[in-house]
């Protein structure tokens, strides 16, 4: 009898197994969707997979990293809920200040701050923005702080717009592309994220060696990780925040931060972005 009961149980288990498997595949918890722009994570599969692994470990759940071409697309996706959190830029964060909240701000070289660089080709005699009048210029993204807002607000202070000041303006949708554009001679100058330029100078010294920095902006708030303000209490968003802030405490997190040339991610505060806000004011006021 005993053996019969076991046989029946085995039979039941066997019959149930496909059902269980199908259930978990169909109805398992949806992965957390975290959006990135290729603005500074350009074509680097190693960085993306390390970050994904570290976040997934920290959150204890599957995570999907979603890449979009522009900040505008990221902002739209965040607001309509198609992504749960995003690593964006201070400028779009401030543009949607009321709808978004900070998850964390990366710490680079000891501070949650970075600069915007104005770059030209290595042999270019220009030393200031005013020397670049009538040339061609590469911006990164119209919603990028370092890759647009800084240069545009500097011009706005003089009552000019980029289209008036430069003979031609192009958007490359990537800080690395701005460096390529200037290094390759497609444009005379470019506005680039200082953090990206510095990271590239170690990763691709041949590329940055063909450019030089002629103007560095003041220190501004580092591009933050954000989520929709009304979803901050959701467990997955809270888990994400915790995972981000705890990255420097785990081996995988440290590895990912190292690949990103970052020290840690700290909670951050809105005051970090006052400099950017001031520039937005100049641009809209001008």
């Amino acid at each position: 009898m005993k053996s019969t009961r076991r046989a029946v149980l085995m039979g039941l288990a066997t019959a149930a197994a496909p059902f269980v498997a199908t259930r978990s595949w169909a109805r398992g918890p949806a992965p957390f969707r975290f959006a990135l722009t290729p603005v500074f994570l350009d074509n680097d599969a190693a960085v993306i997979s390390a970050l994904r692994a570290a976040l997934a470990e920290g959150m204890g759940q599957d995570i999907e990293l979603v890449q979009r071409r522009t900040y505008q697309e990221i902002s739209g996706a965040l607001l309509d809920g198609s992504v749960d959190a995003a690593w964006t830029c201070g400028y779009p964060y401030l543009q949607h200040k009321t709808e978004l909240s900070l998850l964390g701000v990366p710490v680079w070289r000891g501070r949650p701050l970075y600069q915007s660089y104005l770059i030209v080709a290595k042999d270019d005699p220009a030393t200031a923005l005013s020397d670049l009048r009538g040339g061609t210029h590469a911006f990164s993204d119209p919603d990028s702080n370092s890759g647009f807002l800084v240069t545009a607000s500097d011009l706005a202070r003089d009552g000019q717009t980029p289209d008036q000041f430069f003979s031609r303006v192009i958007f490359t949708y990537g800080h690395r592309n701005v460096v390529r554009s200037v290094a390759g001679g497609l444009t005379r100058s470019g506005s680039v994220d200082g953090y990206v330029w510095e990271a590239l100078s170690s990763a691709e010294p041949d590329l940055t060696a063909r450019t030089k920095v002629i103007v560095r902006s003041e220190w501004l708030g580092f591009p933050p990780m954000v989520a929709r303000a009304d979803r901050m209490d959701e467990p997955s968003v809270m888990a994400c925040k915790a995972a981000l802030l705890g990255l420097s405490a785990t081996a995988q997190g440290t590895e990912a931060l190292k690949l990103l040339s970052l020290d840690a991610i700290e909670p951050g505060e809105d005051a970090l972005f006052d400099g950017i806000a001031a520039r937005i004011a100049v641009l809209s006021g001008g």
């Binding site: 061609t136 003979s167 949708y173 554009s181 390759g184 497609l186």
Partner: protein, 475 residues
């Protein structure tokens, strides 16, 4: 036109290998041309394929970006396509919009955004028509098609330095290879032909070395393995023997000629001897009859002395003409006097007038051998005498000066016929019939390196013989 005769003058052992080498070079040249042409076709096809794939690939990738006039996207695609393309074939790719303004190029410094693309289209051809022209950089231009319509243009510069170098290398290898093969084969050919033609060379040198008297080739040198050649050489040897025997016959004939000329003189000389004999006998009778009258005896004795000394002179002249031991002796004025003595009876017998003028003294005759000059003068005089006929005129003028010895014989005969002139003036074969006297004159004058001229003025025939006078020490 000059090198051809020179080439003909080359020995056959050199000419045949040269001709062979020439043909080898021609063959090598034709073979090289066909290899290079095949290589050129392969290279052209490769180039054309490269250009076509490049343009087609770019058209597909660039279409939407060009439509949007997105400078960065176009540049990004061109730049990534360039770095993905192995090799350095594509020097520059330019993409222009439909108005012909540059949207982007792989080298924006050379082709800045917004400039006219027309400047880069100079000399550009469609991808299918691209050919190696010898230029290291070739330009290809093609319309940029998207969804079936032209939205712009693509201009590409192809670097074909490597293909040119490949072509040059192949050319050099062909050149050196063919040159070496040709040299080797020409040398081998020369050896083989030289071996085959060695008997011919021997034949040629035997004919050349002989100075007019062909030398036979030794039996041991006749190649028995080559029937044609051995027959040729045997024929040549028989010919040399025939030539030699002919020369021997001519020599004997010339030897006899002296006797012939004396023979022609014999009847007049017989008179010359006979005439004084009557006078001498009369004188002897007178002495016998008037032995007591000393003045008559003396007169008769003087008469006999004169007649006998004349006979002695005549016989001495005849003897001198025949003496073989005088061969090689120098000419003296007495030799000409002897000739006059011998010839005068001939003149007398025909009642001819003789003009005899010898101006050359002993000094003027220096270096001339006696025997041939006597033979020349005597033969010409006998000929002139015979030609002048009864009551005619015969003349001899001998002068010397300025290194020349000039003999001029004149007669009032009807002139020399064509056959006689042929004998006297030319070296050609003797026409059949007729004597050998004039030919002997010609040969003797040739031996003395002199010249014969013939002239006919009015009713007079002039034959002038000019002999060069050599240094006396040679005589």
């Amino acid at each position: 036109m000059r090198p051809l005769p020179r080439f003909r003058n080359l020995p056959v052992t050199l000419r045949v290998p040269l001709v062979m080498a020439g043909l080898m070079i021609l063959l090598g040249f034709l073979a090289s041309q066909s290899v290079l042409s095949a290589l050129g076709k392969v290279q052209d096809a490769r180039l054309s394929e490269t250009a076509r794939l490049h343009v087609e690939g770019l058209s597909v990738a660039l279409g939407p970006s060009v439509l949007r006039q997105d400078v960065w996207e176009v540049y990004d695609i061109l730049d990534r396509a360039r770095s993905a393309y192995d090799g350095q074939r594509l020097l520059l790719s330019i993409v222009a919009d439909e108005r012909g303004r540059i949207l982007a190029a792989t080298d924006p410094r050379r082709a800045p955004v917004g400039e006219e693309v027309a400047g880069f289209e100079v000399g550009a051809v469609p991808p299918d028509a691209v050919r190696m022209t010898g230029d290291p950089v070739l330009r290809v231009a093609a319309p940029l098609l998207f969804q079936g319509r032209q939205i712009g243009q693509i201009v590409t510069e192809l670097d074909v330095t490597d293909l040119l170098a490949e072509r040059r290398n192949v050319s050099m290898w062909l050149l050196f290879g063919n040159a070496a093969a040709t040299a080797l084969l020409a040398f081998g050919g020369w050896l083989a032909v030289a071996k085959i033609l060695r008997p011919v060379g021997a034949l040629v040198s035997a004919m050349d070395d002989s100075q007019g008297a062909p030398r036979p080739i030794a039996e041991s040198d006749i190649p028995r393995g080559d029937p044609g050649l051995s027959r040729l050489i045997s024929t040549y040897n028989r010919m040399t023997a025939a030539v030699e025997s002919r020369a021997e016959a001519e020599r004997r004939l010339a030897e006899r000629e002296r006797f012939v000329s004396l023979g022609r003189l014999s009847s007049s000389l017989a008179h010359e001897v006979n005439n004084p004999l009557g006078g001498l006998l009369n004188a002897a009778d007178t002495i016998l009859s008037y032995s007591d009258r000393p003045e008559v005896v003396r007169q008769s004795a003087e008469l006999m002395q004169r007649g006998l000394s004349h006979l002695r002179d005549v016989t001495r002249a005849i003897l001198d003409e025949n003496r073989l031991d005088r061969v090689g002796q120098a000419l003296r004025p007495e030799d000409l006097e002897d000739l006059k003595l011998l010839f005068e009876p001939e003149v007398a017998s025909r009642a001819q007038r003789l003009h005899w003028n010898v101006e050359a003294g002993l000094a003027g005759l220096k270096g001339l051998p006696a025997a041939p000059v006597r033979q020349i003068v005597l033969n010409l005089l006998l000929n002139a005498g015979a030609a002048a006929g009864q009551h005619g005129q015969v003349g001899l003028d001998v002068t010397a000066g300025e290194g020349q010895f000039l003999i001029e014989i004149t007669d009032t005969g009807p002139g020399l016929g064509q056959a006689d002139l042929g004998r006297l003036l030319a070296s050609g074969p003797l026409p059949p019939g007729g004597g050998v006297g004039l030919r002997l004159v010609h040969d003797l004058v040739s031996q003395l390196e002199g010249e014969i001229q013939h002239d006919r003025v009015g009713d007079k025939t002039y034959v002038r013989v000019t002999l060069p006078l050599k240094d006396a020490s040679h005589a």
